[in-house]
Amino acid sequence: MTEPPKTVAEFEDLLAAAKAAGLLPIMQWGSAKSGMGLAFPLQQLMAAYGPVGPINDWIFQKPGATIDTPTNLTAAQHLEDWIKNGYFPPDINAIEYTDSNSRFVAGEGVFTFNGDWENADYNTNMAGNVGFFAFPPSVEGDQPAAMSGPLTFGIAATAKHADCAAFFFNWVATNPTAREIDVAVGGSNPGGPADATIPPVPAGSITAETLAAGPVVGANAMDFIANATSSIFAQGWTPELQKMVGGQQDAAGLLQAVQAEYERELTQ
């Protein structure tokens, strides 16, 4: 592999090549204690085979929205194939998030699906031996998509020192030193005003690569499917994806079960 794959098909060729070479193609976690990490590749596949709009509609509970769509079924079928092909660790249902990262940093797994909050760890422990690319589209040349769930903060109406809290949030978003800390430790785009510059990061670092991917993804960003309702991750995605790993659930059943859980939670 000399350059990032341009399509899902190319990425799947790389997975097959890694498997053939005796390597673990993808290190990912799946323990219910951490929440099922296969939700990451699944959502990337959804956004590769269909538009991000309906996915966001579902996450933001737009009336009539459904996750059980033909393009999402295609995505889930690809994930099911990956599982059956042995592209994930055989003990994935027992692997916790932290253990998955430790094993990836130690060299187990060619790829992993994760967020830029791990950049500091990768920069420290895998410097020069790790790289980042946005998950490719299914058709070469299409705009890639990625999850982007910004943290939201609120100040209680009854807060005794609301002005202090507001000052802190403003300081975090605008102060140059705060923004540097944000990028160096957090690994993410520090947000803030539209015209604010991003603090410089070491060239070639994984942080530089994830920050550069932001404008490429642009408006093709989506929130995380685990955030659709407060317990859709614990009661829907995690158990159903674990069943898929265990051969007890297929792609169609996965989407139907999660949609049913979504509707159950919304009616309660």
């Binding site: 219910a32 055989p90 027992a94």
Partner: protein, 310 residues
């Protein structure tokens, strides 16, 4: 008139004597001693219990306004994913958390009493009771490592030629619940052993001596003397451990969090998810009340049996 007179006479005769000043004072002092415990019991048990019943009649997210829904939550609770499966898992855990620890505890306590009453016995008691002292979260992490695919248990299995059966025990659909059960045995065996050992020491040694003079083996002593005379202690052990199994939360949460695919999920875990993840406090409270009733229904026969035996 005659009948009336007799009743009056009988009533006068059966009236208990008025308590003396000393008795009244002792009763007052007794209540005084019990007051701190009663206060704690009321504050930490009765108040939460009544609040849970109260919340179960409302729709509430824990922060906003509460909406009265009556018994609707008790109907809705049956829509909880795989509710029957979680109750089934709880009853399976009774085998692992209750029957096996009590049976093993009987054997272990009997052996310790017979052959190791000295320093070795003290060490054995301490080692077995240690899991009760270790924080369960730490124990859960350690057990997670032990039972992982590259963990010590699989390494030992490989070392003795059983590499073909190695697996991620807590991530396997068929073995996750038994693996959680093994953790439960580890936690509860010490409690059962210490309680039963205390009971054994109260058994008259003359009974064992006469049995030995008659040539009884350890097994005959165990079945003929130890088990029958420990019925009360066995009843306590069963009560505590069955409650631990049916209302299980902590061990399951730290070991598997209900996975894989709800195969180890139990009602206690669903209550936690409903209350603190889904923020459906009323629904969670309704399930909690139903779980409490289930536990009571199961525990009452055990209590009655052990009392009758006693």
């Amino acid at each position: 008139m005659m009948a009336s007179d007799h009743r009056s006479e009988a009533h006068t005769v059966s009236r208990p004597p008025l308590p003396t000043k000393r008795v009244r004072r002792e009763t007052f002092v007794g209540w005084l001693f019990a007051t701190p415990a009663l206060f704690m019991y009321g504050f930490f048990v009765l108040v939460p219990l009544l609040l849970t019943i109260f919340y179960s009649l409302y729709k509430w997210n824990g922060v906003g306004p509460m909406t009265w829904v009556g018994l609707k939550n008790y109907v809705t609770v049956f829509q909880v994913p795989d509710l029957i499966g979680t109750i089934y898992n709880a009853f399976l855990l009774v085998l692992w958390f209750s029957f096996i620890p009590v049976a093993l505890g009987l054997v272990v306590s009997s052996v310790i009493h017979r052959i190791a009453s000295g320093r070795f016995g003290s060490v054995a008691r301490t080692v077995l009771f240690l899991p009760q002292v270790i924080p369960l979260v730490a124990a859960g992490i350690i057990w997670g490592w032990l039972l992982a695919l590259p963990g010590l248990i699989n390494q030992l299995l490989k070392a003795i030629g059983l590499g073909s059966i190695t697996r991620a025990w807590l991530g396997d659909f068929h073995f996750a619940l038994p693996a959680v059960g093994v953790i439960g045995i580890w936690v509860l065996l010490g409690f059962c052993t210490v309680l039963l050992l205390t009971g054994i020491t109260k058994i008259d040694p003359a009974l064992y001596e006469s049995a030995r003079i008659d040539g009884a083996t350890w097994l005959q002593e165990f079945i003929g003397i130890t088990v029958p005379l420990l019925r009360n202690e066995i009843g306590v052990c069963l009560t505590v451990t069955v409650i631990n199994a049916l209302a299980a939360f902590d061990i399951v949460y730290v070991a598997t969090a209900g996975g894989p695919g709800n195969s180890t999920s139990v009602p206690g875990l669903q209550i936690y998810i409903l209350a603190f993840t889904q923020r459906a406090i009323g629904l969670a409270s309704a399930l909690a009340v139903m779980l409490m009733l289930l536990v009571v229904v199961v525990i009452i026969p055990i209590q009655r049996l052990s009392r009758e035996s006693g």
